[in-house]
């Protein structure tokens, strides 16, 4: 499993109720169900990935995360996960507020746009950064936002989302291995992973 996902998995206690927004084909959710016996639900907008996740035996709703999250009662989950999806979300503040309405805690992860090689590419080549974490050209990217770790922290302060945990990492070897970056994460980390609460 990808290193960023195993970091998230390490935060979820066994038996928790988990909602995974943008769960894809269900890699993380499947791991959590099997290894941590969580009661998991996923939401995925892509038909192929949603049906693949359902075929794994997961409970997954094929649909839009904003529409689907609205149906859940307050406090329906212990954790609501938004893994590598924030950069594609139209109204991130409204979504995170919704995550913290239906869940006790929110887990948010995203690729750090301000990592040094992105900066170099822009500074030296004058081109929009393309990296392993953000492998798209300007004309085919599904990502509508660029998120530096520093800006995400400012955003959480402004919107009064409490950061309970922050782990910044770099990954290598097909992203399955990696390490925690404690020093200068906004410059050196390729991903930021956050545990949020209502504050």
């Amino acid at each position: 499993m990808r290193f960023d996902l195993s970091v998230i998995a390490g935060w979820i206690e066994p038996g928790a109720r988990v909602l995974d927004l943008g769960c894809g084909a269900g890699t993380l959710l499947d791991h959590l169900v099997r290894e941590r016996a969580v009661r998991g639900t996923g939401v995925e907008h892509d038909e192929v990935r949603a049906s693949a996740a359902i075929a794994k035996g997961l409970s997954v709703i094929h649909g839009d995360i904003f529409e689907e999250i609205a149906d859940y009662p307050d406090g329906a989950f212990d954790y609501v996960i938004l893994s590598q999806t924030l950069q594609q979300v139209y109204e991130p503040d409204r979504l995170i507020a919704e995550m913290l309405r239906v869940g006790r805690r929110g887990v948010v992860s995203f690729p750090n746009f301000a990592v040094w090689y992105n900066r170099l590419m822009f500074l030296l080549l004058g081109r929009a950064p393309v990296s392993r974490e953000l492998p798209y050209e300007w004309y085919d990217t599904p990502n509508i936002r660029v998120i530096p770790i520093k800006d995400f922290r400012r955003f959480c302060r402004a919107k009064r989302f409490a950061i309970e945990r922050e782990v910044t990492i770099t990954t290598h070897h097909h992203e399955e291995r990696g390490r925690v970056v404690a020093l200068l994460p906004n410059l050196r980390a390729s991903y930021g992973i956050y545990l949020l609460s209502r504050g």
């Binding site: 038909e47 192929v48 949603a50 049906s51 359902i54 075929a55 794994k56 035996g57 997961l58 409970s59 997954v60 709703i61 094929h62 649909g63 689907e68 149906d71 859940y72 009662p73 329906a76």
Partner: protein, 410 residues
């Protein structure tokens, strides 16, 4: 439900099957929603596979508006066509008859072997015709429950059905929550919309306006063939889609090069509908069509079980759900499936939902789809593993390859 001749994507034939009949509602008749009662009555049913010693592998199939108990396999060697869902049911197929004991019965009020308006009324010795009590989805499901009691099945691994069959699936999940481990409602709705009622009413009026209908008393005389054929033509339009008809027929003419400037069937779509109408008349009873469409129109899970609230209605349910809709279904559009999913979510029920891209309209649930196969096959396998407390196993279509999967996604 239309008739298609299609090839299965995987698995083998369920083989020979026999239509059986059981007399139920005797001595205690079945109390109906309309206030009347029915009994003794007959249910026609078929089964595939074997009931496990623990009696925990029964999958009940619910048929659609004009379907019957013949869901899979062949009655005889001479049979040209297998049952209506043969692509889904059989050894190695998603509803795997080597693993599950599969049961399908004809609904009461129908005309394919179960008691309905064309059956003899024991009180008069003549066909019931319009004296037959109006039956509802709830009544049909109660009759199916009596059949399962008769078969010694007290818990269903799953109830599966599309369209009107999907309504029975939903009714099962809410009426008998303790009996159902999983429910798979396909291309269906929790209540008939005004649009769906409207089409049914046009179809009923076509039958009732046929002079041969004669207030329903046509048995032993000329049948209301014209009215029933027109009713079927209306139904057929609702089972297809703009896209499906454009691709299948366009404006092509049938057996001619130019317009005739006369009122005879010229366009291919006209001759297709007439053909479907004619074929239908040979196998279906006009009064049964009236009763079946009425039952569909009356169906409202929220009215029957939730005082108008779908969330309240699903508060009774306890099973896992797999809800599937199809993009081009305009009879029971996706928003209606989403409404049931929403109510299930609000009740904390275990639900999965997928909207499958399909251009063939409402009938897509009857047609080969690697995606639908994978969803249904795996959902059943996982449900069985959970019920038996075993580690999850996955279902893979024998010989299914990725290319075919992709072809179907388009």
């Amino acid at each position: 439900m239309s008739e298609y001749e299609v090839e299965s994507l995987s698995g083998g034939s369920a083989g020979r099957v026999e239509k059986r009949f059981v007399t139920l509602g005797d001595p205690e008749p079945l109390g109906l929603e309309c206030g009347r009662s029915l009994g003794p009555f007959t249910l026609a049913y078929e089964t595939w596979g074997d009931l496990s010693p623990a009696r925990d592998n029964c999958v009940l199939i619910c048929h659609a508006l004009t379907g019957d108990s013949h869901a899979a396999g062949y009655y005889s060697e001479e049979d040209r066509k297998p049952g209506w869902w043969d692509i889904m049911i059989g050894p190695g197929k998603p509803i795997d008859t080597t693993k599950y004991f599969v049961v399908c019965s004809n609904v009461i009020g129908g005309c394919m072997g179960s008691t309905g308006p064309s059956s003899l009324n024991p009180a008069t010795g003549a066909p019931w015709a319009m004296d037959f009590p109006v039956v509802t989805m709830g009544d049909m499901v109660k009759a199916q429950k009596l059949l399962l009691d008769h078969l010694g099945v007290s818990r269903l691994l799953a109830v599966v059905g599309g369209s009107v069959g999907g309504m029975q699936v939903l009714e099962w999940a809410v009426r008998y929550p303790g009996m159902v481990a999983a429910a798979i409602p396909l291309a269906t709705t929790c209540e008939h919309s005004a649009l769906a009622i409207a089409f049914n009413e046009v179809a009923r009026q076509a039958i009732m306006a046929d002079p041969a209908w004669n207030g329903g008393n046509y048995y032993g005389a000329a049948l209301p063939e014209y009215g029933l054929a027109v009713a079927r033509m209306v139904g057929h339009v609702t089972y297809l889609s703009d896209e499906a008809m454009r691709k299948k027929f366009g404006r092509s003419l049938q057996d001619r090069c130019g317009l005739s400037y006369r009122f005879e069937p010229e366009f291919q779509v006209e001759s297709y509908l007439r053909h479907q109408g004619r074929k239908f008349v040979e196998r279906f009873d006009a009064n049964a069509f009236l009763y079946m469409t009425k039952a569909a129109d009356y169906f409202s899970l929220q009215q029957a079980w939730g005082d108008g609230s779908l969330v309240n209605a699903f508060a009774r349910a306890a099973c896992r759900f797999l809800v599937v809709s199809f993009t081009s279904d305009w009879l029971y559009p996706t928003y209606q499936s989403k409404a049931m999913v929403q109510a299930m979510k609000k009740n904390g029920l275990d639900v999965s939902f997928c909207e499958i891209t399909a251009d063939l309209g409402h009938d897509a649930f009857l047609l080969p789809s690697a995606r639908l196969n994978s969803l249904v096959g795996n959902f059943l396998a996982v449900t069985q593993a959970r019920e038996r407390g075993a580690p999850p196993v996955s279902w893979t279509a024998p010989g299914a390859d990725a290319a075919r999967e992709d072809a179907h996604a388009l």
